[in-house]
């Protein structure tokens, strides 16, 4: 047997090594070929991906200096990183700088890119993989761009960090793509993929690596004849006229307000305003872009969103090992098991999916196509993923699996009997994982021969859109099992959060008091729409009552009862009507009726609900949010999670906890811990001991 799998990829990586290093620069490699083309490769030192910062751009400036003494025929810019051209600016670099320093840094960047844009020689950016933010801004400053087909993705995600493009991206994108397309890309932060780059004028050619040379040659010829300049259509030019800007900007603002209200997220409005006022004049727009950008970097929203971004990186950096899991066996093809299976298959793993019945397995296979299409997968990629998802009604997959995930109903007896049947069949080094959300792992571990292999991998519903998975260890879980579970989660594009086996783990422990308190408020006669509205206005992605319906009232009830049984801290009583609803089968979204009536996956609300007065709003918000913060303090005290950063990250990415507030602990700190405790004490006096401030506040 020869080891010739992935031969193409291996040969390609050999090809990349052809760019010789002159050793002149830390982050760049430069070489001049026989036809006097200067190839400039970005290869950021000690990093898997390219990012831009002052040092990288300074070095690039030095490269441009060198052109003057010995001008090349053209300059070709590309990346040596397999994953992409450039992921954008290093967002962390602004954290410790004041406004003047940031302005100076940005100003320097603008001068460098202006130099690049104004070079006498033709310049070509060759982009592959991700070309985002600052990376795209560099590419846009070149005269031509060639996209390499594959996983090409380009865009400006700055808006998600409470910013907009700041290195000339705003006006250069307007000139390339027309204002409507450009503004949409910048306001939504979503990328253009593959052929979309061609239609949006972002690349001149989209080719395979093997045709790069031909494409470069053609562009350089056209540069001489001057035939290649792409112009915007008259309708695109019209859309950028002064009156059109006044009208369109109003619509853009309204759309932005719906998804990211300006009082929490100032960036979209700043971007629209920038365009509305200066969109007709490049020079003024360049100045205004810098001013606006610098101002936004100073807003709390942006600082918090940037912090959230680095918290995310922090979660991924906690993964220390390479993923060795290639084949996964999943037991239980219900909503969770089926979606986990489809997700893993789409991420390239071999999956066997077992269930006593074939119908749920078939349903999981049926859902894979839609899931893949929403992730920009081609028909062939989807078919290959479907091939990797092996229906396994007889459960043969256990022996070959590196990881077995049990995702059967939350019943201790069913789970233990399955674990005991599976354990003797596991291959050496395989891990046994449970997707339980409420059963303490210790209970499952005691009956196993080798409990060190047991770990919790707790996915959230819906699997495809929830980024966080909780990696739950019990006392006896081995470090290697935990690390492999983390590495596996990262490999399938999830954010693993290591937590200790604790009632509700982290996320459900923190979320349940919030949901229960909402139910109590409802009992006290508050309008359901109003309760949800207060939470949304605080910055939650949806209100607690809608969320309870979404999760399923049965599951909320299970978790609430479990927490009441297992926790020392006082919990709110589950209202009788909720038990009644569960008994009647009114479980929420999945049955069409819960607290709300659901149609086509949407809660049927009576408008936005009444406008609360300031007092009600504050009281309601405190009663919803503070118990959640209190539970977070408890989890911190119990060391459920390794630190406040991971806690903040987990709550943001698992529950959507108002990202612009930087996470629950960070938010509490910004309010002042003493204030939070005091307010909790007041609430305890008024509403009962469930609000007693946790001892954990003293440790923070």
């Amino acid at each position: 047997m020869t080891d010739n799998d992935n031969l193409t990829r291996r040969l390609e990586s050999r090809h990349r090594e052809l760019a010789q290093d002159t050793g002149q620069f830390r982050h760049w490699r430069v070489y001049r070929d026989d036809s006097q083309l200067l190839w400039v490769y970005l290869d950021r030192a000690r990093s898997e991906v390219n990012t831009l910062d002052g040092e990288v751009l300074d070095e690039f400036d030095t490269i441009l200096d060198g052109l003057e003494e010995k001008p090349p025929r053209a300059l070709i810019l590309r990346s040596l990183k397999p994953r992409g051209f450039c992921a954008g600016a290093d967002v962390g670099q602004f954290a410790d700088l004041n406004a003047e320093q940031i302005a100076a840094l940005i100003g320097q960047g603008h001068r460098t890119l202006d130099r690049l844009e104004n070079l006498a020689q033709p310049t070509v950016a060759v982009i592959h993989g991700h070309c985002l933010g600052g990376g795209l801004e560099v590419a846009l400053a070149c005269r031509f761009r060639i996209g390499l087909a594959g996983n090409l993705e380009a865009g400006f995600p700055e808006i998600r960090l409470g910013l907009h493009p700041g290195l000339g991206g705003t006006f250069r994108l307007l000139e390339r793509s027309g204002s409507v397309t450009a503004m949409r890309m910048m306001l939504t932060g979503s990328s253009a993929h593959e052929r979309q780059l061609l239609t949006r004028g972002l690349v001149d050619y989209l080719v395979e690596e093997r045709h790069l040379e031909g494409a470069v040659k053609k562009l350089l010829n056209e540069a001489v004849t001057g035939r290649s300049q792409r112009h915007l259509s008259w309708i695109q030019r019209l859309a950028n006229s002064y009156p059109a800007r006044q009208i369109l900007s109003r619509r853009m603002l309204a759309a932005a307000e719906r998804s990211a209200p300006a009082r929490h997220y100032p960036a979209p409005a700043a971007l629209v305003e920038l365009w509305r006022r200066q969109g007709g004049n490049r020079g003024r727009m360049q100045t205004a872009e810098q001013e606006s950008f610098v101002r936004l970097t100073g807003t709390a929203a942006s600082r918090n969103l940037v912090r959230v971004f680095s918290l995310r990186e922090g979660l991924l950096q906690a993964v220390k090992e390479e993923n060795r899991i290639r084949q996964v066996h999943i037991i239980g093809a219900g909503a969770m098991g089926g979606d986990i299976a489809a997700w893993c298959a789409l991420q390239g793993l071999q999956v066997s999916l077992a269930d006593l019945k074939v119908e749920p397995i078939a349903a999981a296979i049926g859902s894979l196509g839609g899931l893949g299409r929403r992730r920009h997968k081609s028909a062939i990629e989807i078919r290959n993923a479907r091939d990797r998802l092996i229906p396994d009604p007889r459960g043969h997959g256990v022996e070959q699996a590196d990881l077995v995930i049990e995702a059967v109903p939350e019943n201790l007896q069913i789970k233990t009997s399955i674990h005991q049947a599976v354990e003797p069949r596991l291959k050496d080094g395989a891990i046994l994982a449970t997707n339980t959300s409420s059963i303490p792992l210790e209970k499952l571990a005691t009956l196993l021969q080798r409990p060190e292999r047991l770990v919790g991998i707790h996915f959230f519903n819906p699997v495809a859109s929830m980024q966080v998975v909780e990696i739950v260890s019990h006392q006896g879980t081995s470090e290697s099992a935990r690390q492999q579970a983390m590495a596996f989660s990262k490999a399938i594009g999830k954010l693993p959060v290591a937590v200790k086996s604790y009632p509700g783990f982290l996320v459900n422990r923190a979320l349940t008091p919030y949901l229960l308190e909402a139910a109590l408020l409802l009992d006290e006669g508050l309008d359901r729409e109003l309760i949800d509205r207060v939470a949304v206005e605080f910055g939650m992605p949806m209100g607690p009552l809608e969320l309870a319906d979404q999760v399923g009232l049965d599951i909320c009830l299970d978790v609430a009862d479990m927490l009441r049984n297992l926790l020392d801290s006082p919990m709110a009583e589950v209202p009788a009507w909720m038990r009644e609803k569960v008994k009647k089968g009114e479980l929420g979204r999945k049955t069409g009726q819960g607290i709300y009536t659901w149609q086509k996956g949407k809660a049927q609300k009576q408008g936005k609900g009444p406008e609360p007065d300031a007092g009600t709003r504050q009281a309601c918000q405190d009663r919803l949010i503070l118990p959640m913060l209190n539970a977070c303090a408890e989890c911190y005290r119990e060391r459920v999670v390794s630190g406040p950063e991971h806690l903040d990250a987990a709550l943001i990415f698992a529950t959507g906890f108002a990202p612009f507030r930087g996470g629950p602990i960070h938010y509490a700190q910004s309010l002042g811990l003493e204030t939070v405790r005091q307010r909790l004490s007041e609430l305890a006096a008024a509403h009962g001991p469930r609000f007693e401030p946790d001892a954990g506040w003293q440790e923070l």
Binding site: L7, Q350, P391
Partner: protein, 439 residues
């Protein structure tokens, strides 16, 4: 008379060849439009669970061989496409074999010969066919018209070419019909069965009775869960699941069958849709291993393949292929018809199977054609196609040979019998046979 290629079982260097395991999809009846699976889709559907239950990594096979007659244009060399889609690795050699209705057995036979000679240890051999995907073809005149149009260089030339169009060009040719018609004797397969019914004096009633019994045996076998390990459910992309051979007619009876009109030679013919095999989609794989592979991977074979034979004859009576290919095997091993414990004769047509039985029991035929001293005798129908055959299960042409070998192995184990022969007639005038022994 027949020429034959036979193996040399007495060769002292011959390595024993084991049939380790196998699985197939349910055979899905063609319902007038392309079914949910292409040939390779089908091969992947049953190949995955089969490989999953083996105690060995899927990359350790030496090669993959697949029989397939109606290859679809997206899947040239379906064996290789299947091997890749089954995740057997970039380095897996794979080729497709085609001998019409014998293709699924030819893949096993090719693997058998590789392993017996010591050239390979572990081979995945299968058959796959999606008759519902057989193409509609353009008429030859229409193809010529297209070619002229494309070649026309000037506007007037193009106009002239355009004017040559005739509405009849739009009438498609059904590829399947073509494929089931012998191009040498110009008879379709059903007509060859009519010919045999005539030559061996088989009545419509006899053929219908055989067909009804075949359906009942299949139905009973399904009730008894005989196919528990043999059939793996097939899951379509739209979330639909297929679990059993849906050509089964539990309500089939001689009376009901009598109502059908002759399908090929009305009004006097005896072959109907009811006493013929059904047009279906399906795939099947078996794993063949050498002694060395069995020991090394701790495999538990079901059966040993002892011998195989191919024979050829007048295409107009291709249905006698089983007689011409099985008899030499019996002779080589000095076995009588009755020494075989189980028979699988592929049921292309009820009349054709009955003709085979009558031929063996016909002294003149046995003496003059088979060169036996006397009639081979009466084959006991109780040990023939004990769990039904292609009349109920269906006959995806490139798959059937594979299915009957696998089912024979499984049935030998289930019924605790020793020896069995699986054999089939092959359109174009051939026959294939294989002798198995339970391990």
């Amino acid at each position: 008379m027949s020429n034959s290629t036979h193996s040399a079982p007495q060769d002292s260097k011959a390595q024993p060849v084991y049939l380790v395991d196998g699985a197939r999809t349910p055979f899905i009846k063609a319902r007038g439009r392309p079914g949910p699976f292409t040939p390779v889709d089908l091969a992947v559907q049953c190949g995955r669970p089969l490989l999953l239950r083996q105690p060995l990594p899927r990359s350790v096979f030496d090669m993959v061989i697949l029989g397939c007659v109606n290859v679809v244009s997206e899947e040239m060399n379906p064996a290789r496409v299947a091997a890749l889609r089954l995740g057997m690795g970039d380095g897996m050699p794979a080729f497709t074999v085609q001998i019409n209705c014998g293709s699924g057995m030819q893949s096993i036979d090719t693997a058998f010969r590789y392993i017996r000679s010591g050239d390979a240890d572990l081979i995945l051999a299968g058959g796959a066919e999606a008759l519902s995907h057989a193409p509609l073809l353009f008429r030859q005149q229409a193809v010529n018209w297209f070619a002229e149009l494309a070649a026309a260089r000037s506007a007037s030339g193009r106009l002239r070419a355009l004017a040559g169009f005739r509405p009849s060009y739009l009438k498609p040719v059904i590829g399947l019909e073509r494929g089931l018609t012998d191009p040498v004797v110009a008879m379709n397969m059903g007509q060859t069965a009519e010919q045999l019914a005539h030559l061996f004096n088989i009545s419509r009633e006899q053929a219908d009775a055989y067909a009804a019994r075949s359906q009942q045996r299949l139905h009973q076998a399904q009730q008894d869960e005989v196919f528990e390990r043999e059939i793996e459910p097939a899951f379509a992309a739209d979330g639909k699941v297929y679990t059993y051979d849906d050509g089964v007619r539990p309500d089939s009876s001689v009376e009901r069958l009598a109502r059908l009109k002759p399908a090929f030679e009305p009004p006097f013919g005896r072959v109907t849709a009811g006493n013929s095999s059904q047009i279906t989609d399906g795939a099947c794989w078996v794993i063949l291993a050498s002694e060395k592979a069995v020991e090394h991977h701790g495999l538990q074979p079901i059966a040993r393949i002892l011998d195989s034979e191919w024979a050829a004859l007048d295409p107009a009576v291709m249905g006698l292929g089983p007689v011409l290919s099985s008899t030499p095997i019996l002779q080589r091993h000095a076995l009588a018809l009755g020494d075989i414990d189980l028979w699988e004769i592929n049921e292309a047509f009820a009349a054709q199977v009955l003709a085979c039985l009558r031929a063996w029991n016909d002294r003149d035929f046995c003496q003059s054609i088979l060169k036996l001293e006397q009639a081979a005798g009466q084959l006991d129908e109780d040990i023939l196609n004990v769990h039904g055959g292609a009349i109920g299960v269906g006959h995806p042409v490139g798959t059937s040979g594979n299915r009957i070998v696998l089912h024979l192995a499984n049935a030998l184990r289930l019924l605790n019998k020793k020896r069995g022969i699986a054999t089939e007639c092959i359109g174009g005038g051939q026959g294939g046979a294989m002798l198995l022994e339970r391990v």
